[in-house]
């Protein structure tokens, strides 16, 4: 019993201690909306801090506070605006881009940002020395298609040709071919400007294979050096806390808070409880089921504009019945996407009429959603001689994606729709990283599957080109006509022609090919406590914290 008494006494002492800390602790920010520390709960830890080797939102989040790109996206939108460049002008055939650079900008190490630095960065990217580094530069290789010496999966001639610096404020980037992704893709966080001096000093390109993993140079782990509103201070790997400090020499609007802390809290419920307990000021990706209760508790739920797509994928190769357009149309008619959006997805979610959200240039506004019509579905199946169709429907477990908050619920609803239309569904649940991605993206062992995409920038090619630009095991789509149509749209560089070409691609995809069924676009959200202001939710999940202050 004495142990009980001692434990109770200890608990009371500790409780008093903890309470007093809560009153003057981390929850406090500083007065007057300026200064203080903002603590934000992040669902995951960054892989590293070199934006070139970043490929997921958790790695991009701190990078976006420390680095700038030549062009950037206007906060809260996917529209372009000036970043480190004030102007960006293509030549007549869009194979040369001239950037007029902001003057007087310095990197965090005190060195100058200028045209030489821009060229140094472009040349660093294309000259990545080994396979290890090239496999990690995923966004670069997606955008520029190759390296000077291709050591990994990129096999093409790099889109980038050369960079010249006629004067410190002008950088001219020459491309080997025009590409529709530009100029929007110049704003990708992976293409951020790093300090050439720091890149060299801290072995930025030294990515090595060590056993069954990759290790990075000190630049990526401890010395990221950009021009952004926050500077890197520390990453405590034991407690998973990233601390950034305000850059008082920032060229633009200075950050309102002195310190910005990202506390990694993978468990969504734990993030919520931390916010409720007052130990963090906000967090990312509150569960849609909690939005209402969080708001009723006085927190601000900031819903991002939709910029993603969920589709019901169809693999024509694995199941020959699915090669018949009528069968694929029957699957589309059989799915009640209106109900799905209403019952399973968060407020603000919309039924998709095509494979990209409405805000992307190239969206065909005249396309109507395929209506829910199980009778029509049955009729189409009968016409195709597939009234007894059986499908293996793969869906992921152990994952939640912004476009797919609860895959099991979405599967259940869609599978029931298909059964109503007379289709026999074999459910195949697999863990996301424990077989699902391999099955549906690499091995193509499925008939139907659920997957989606969050856009990187405002270009239709970033959506439909990624999905249907070539033959992939995911869809088993082999018609060269659609690949060529997408390639032509991508290389049509005058903005009006580019948009019109993609509008036609979208019409054709929905009416002539229907390689999958676009389901919905869902908005992910952020949540902050009362008194936190200035956090602008971004469709690209590209939130910048320099505008944030604490009341």
């Amino acid at each position: 019993m004495s142990a009980l008494v001692a434990a109770a006494a200890l608990a009371v002492t500790l409780a008093a201690c903890a309470t007093s800390e809560r009153e003057d602790g981390a929850g406090e920010g500083g007065a007057g909306g300026s200064g203080g520390t903002l603590v934000f709960g992040a669902p995951g830890a960054p892989d590293n801090f070199d934006p070139l080797f970043a490929q997921d939102g958790e790695t991009f989040r701190p990078a976006r506070q420390m680095f700038d790109t030549l062009v950037t996206y206007k906060q809260g939108t996917s529209d372009l605006e000036g970043g480190l460049a004030t102007e960006w002008t293509p030549n007549a055939d869009f194979t040369e881009w001239t950037f007029t650079l902001r003057e007087g900008v310095k990197f965090h190490d005190g060195t100058d940002f200028n045209a030489e630095a821009v060229c140094f960065n472009f040349n660093r990217w294309v000259n990545l020395p080994n396979a290890a580094a090239q496999t990690q530069a995923i966004y670069y290789s997606d955008t520029f298609e190759g390296f000077t010496s291709n050591q990994a999966s990129a096999t093409g001639t790099p889109v980038y040709n050369s960079c010249t610096a006629p004067d410190p404020a002008t950088a001219v980037v020459k491309l080997n071919k025009a590409k529709g992704a530009f100029p929007a893709a110049f704003g990708l966080t992976s293409l951020s400007m790093s300090s050439p001096a720091a890149l060299q000093q801290y072995d930025a390109d030294k990515v090595e294979q060590s056993g069954e993993a990759f290790t990075y140079g000190a630049y990526a782990t401890d010395h990221p050096t950009g021009t952004g509103p926050f500077k890197f201070e520390s990453f405590d790997r034991t407690s998973n806390v990233i601390t950034l400090a305000r850059n008082d020499d920032y060229w633009g609007e200075k950050a309102k808070v002195e310190k910005l802390i990202f506390k990694v809290i993978p468990d969504e419920n734990a993030r919520k409880q931390e916010l409720q307990a007052g130990t963090i000021d906000g967090y990312d990706l509150p569960s849609p089921a909690d939005w209402e209760s969080l708001e009723s508790e006085g927190f601000q739920v900031l819903v991002r504009p939709v910029f993603n797509i969920l589709y019901l994928g169809i693999n024509q190769k694995n199941n020959p019945a699915l090669q018949d357009l009528r069968v694929r149309q029957a699957i589309a008619y059989a799915t009640d996407r209106e109900s799905l959006v209403r019952t399973q997805l968060p407020e603000g979610a919309v039924v998709a009429t095509q494979f990209l959200p409405e805000t992307v240039d190239g969206y065909a506004a005249d396309l109507q959603p395929i209506p829910y019509d199980p009778e029509k579905a049955k009729q189409l199946l009968a016409e195709a001689g597939q009234s007894n169709l059986t499908v293996n429907f793969y869906y992921p477990t152990e994952v939640s994606r912004p476009y797919m908050p609860n895959p099991t619920n979405i599967f259940t609803a869609l599978a029931e729709n298909l059964r109503q239309a007379g289709i026999t569904v074999n459910p195949v649940p697999q863990p996301w990283a424990g077989g699902y991605l391999d099955s549906v993206t690499a091995n193509g062992t499925h008939d139907l599957h659920l997957l989606g995409w969050t856009g990187d920038y405002n270009d239709a090619g970033n959506f439909v080109g990624t999905f249907f630009g070539r033959n992939k095991p995911e869809f088993g789509l082999t018609d060269p006509a659609i690949f060529s149509e997408i390639a032509t749209a991508d290389s049509t560089v005058d903005p009006a022609g580019h948009t019109a070409a993609y509008e036609q691609v979208n019409r054709d995809l929905m009416t002539k090919y229907l390689p999958a069924v676009p389901v919905s676009s869902s908005p992910p959200a952020l949540v902050v406590r009362e008194g936190v202001s200035g956090l602008i939710p971004s469709p690209l999940t590209d939130e910048r914290f320099y505008t944030v202050s604490k009341g």
Partner: protein, 333 residues
């Protein structure tokens, strides 16, 4: 005794070797892999194949195993596929967190479990016994993560007595000496850091303690009942020894033998429980490393954790065997 210890230690080597082969082969036979875990939505067949090639995961499994064994014999368990950090360094950083949590949980469980079990046995069939049996049943039945969330919702969110998660408050600047934050605070005389760390420890330790507590209570109760009915206790009582002397010198001492075995076995269960407790309390210990590694197919980290875990388990059981000799002088090793 020394020969016994040496013989047992030598037996550990083939055990671990066999286990390493099984773990290695088992991990690679599971669907998925580090490549698709890393790539996520951006996985393409080419990228998955390329990453597997660069990481050597496309090689025959015995070649991979040979390389792995070669590295492990030089003490190199490789780097984590998730973080790129050497796995031994990661484990070194996380271990104090789990040890701190498990030790406190075990202390709570032993300090409460043995007296409760003893009391229940002494008052067999009475209200104390019934309450204890029901309590331990609930303790076994309630999942630790559920209890964790409940404790947090009440004591951290509602009452604000304890912090909801983590090992230290963000604004507490503690000097790292050993990695054991409570101890470090004492060593560096940063007592505020020690107190802060202790306040973070209470809820997860209580949640985790429920697993061994229930078992210890039940084993103690059963064991004491067993001993109470034995001849030597009757003899001791009949020769007029004071009840207190019988209890402490004869009953408890003999009853503790199976209890000490149980406590040893609880170390394994504690580690399993720590995975869930650490997730709920964002603890950043071995359990967190393990859970992330399983989800993201981090082979190097899983291999290191499973092998080191097995080593610890074997050593703990050796210690338990040795403790027999100390508790019961009749046992000769």
């Amino acid at each position: 005794m020394l020969r016994f210890v040496l013989r047992r230690l030598v037996q550990v080597v083939p055990t671990l070797l066999l286990l390493s082969l099984l773990v290695f082969a088992w991990l690679r036979s599971l669907p998925g892999g580090p490549a698709s875990a890393f790539l996520g939505d951006r996985a393409t067949p080419e990228r998955i194949a390329e990453l597997n090639r660069v990481l050597g995961l496309d090689q025959p499994i015995f070649v991979q195993y040979g390389r792995f064994l070669g590295r492990v014999l030089t003490g190199d368990f490789g780097a984590s596929t998730i973080t790129g950090q050497p796995v031994l360094a990661e484990i070194g950083r996380a271990l104090p967190a789990t040890v701190e949590l498990s030790v406190l949980a075990l202390v709570i469980a032993v300090a409460l479990g043995i007296p409760l079990g003893y009391l229940a046995a002494q008052h067999r069939g009475g209200p104390v016994d019934i309450a204890t049996v029901i309590g331990t049943l609930i303790g076994v039945a309630v999942p630790v993560f559920f209890l964790g969330y409940l404790l947090k919702a009440f004591f951290a969110v509602e009452l604000g007595w304890f912090p909801p998660s983590g090992r230290l408050s963000i604004d507490v600047d503690a000097t790292n000496v050993t990695g054991f934050v409570v101890l470090d605070g004492l060593l560096t005389r940063e007592f505020d850091a020690s107190l802060d760390a202790l306040s973070h420890l209470v809820l997860p330790a209580v949640a985790l303690a429920t697993i061994p507590l229930a078992v210890i209570v039940r084993i103690t109760r059963a064991s004491v009942l067993d001993v109470l009915g034995s001849d030597f206790v009757r003899t001791a009582n009949s020769k007029g020894l004071a009840p207190g002397t019988v209890r402490s010198r004869h009953v408890l001492r003999n009853a503790l033998l199976p209890v000490s075995t149980t406590i040893g076995l609880q170390v394994g269960l504690l580690l399993a429980g720590a995975v869930l407790t650490e997730k709920v309390f964002v603890w950043g210990g071995i359990g967190t490393l393990l859970a992330d590694a399983i989800t993201l197919k981090d082979y190097p980290r899983l291999q290191a954790l499973l092998l080191l875990g097995a080593l610890v388990y074997v050593l703990v059981n050796l210690l338990v065997d040795l403790s027999y000799a100390i508790i019961d002088p009749r046992v000769r090793l």
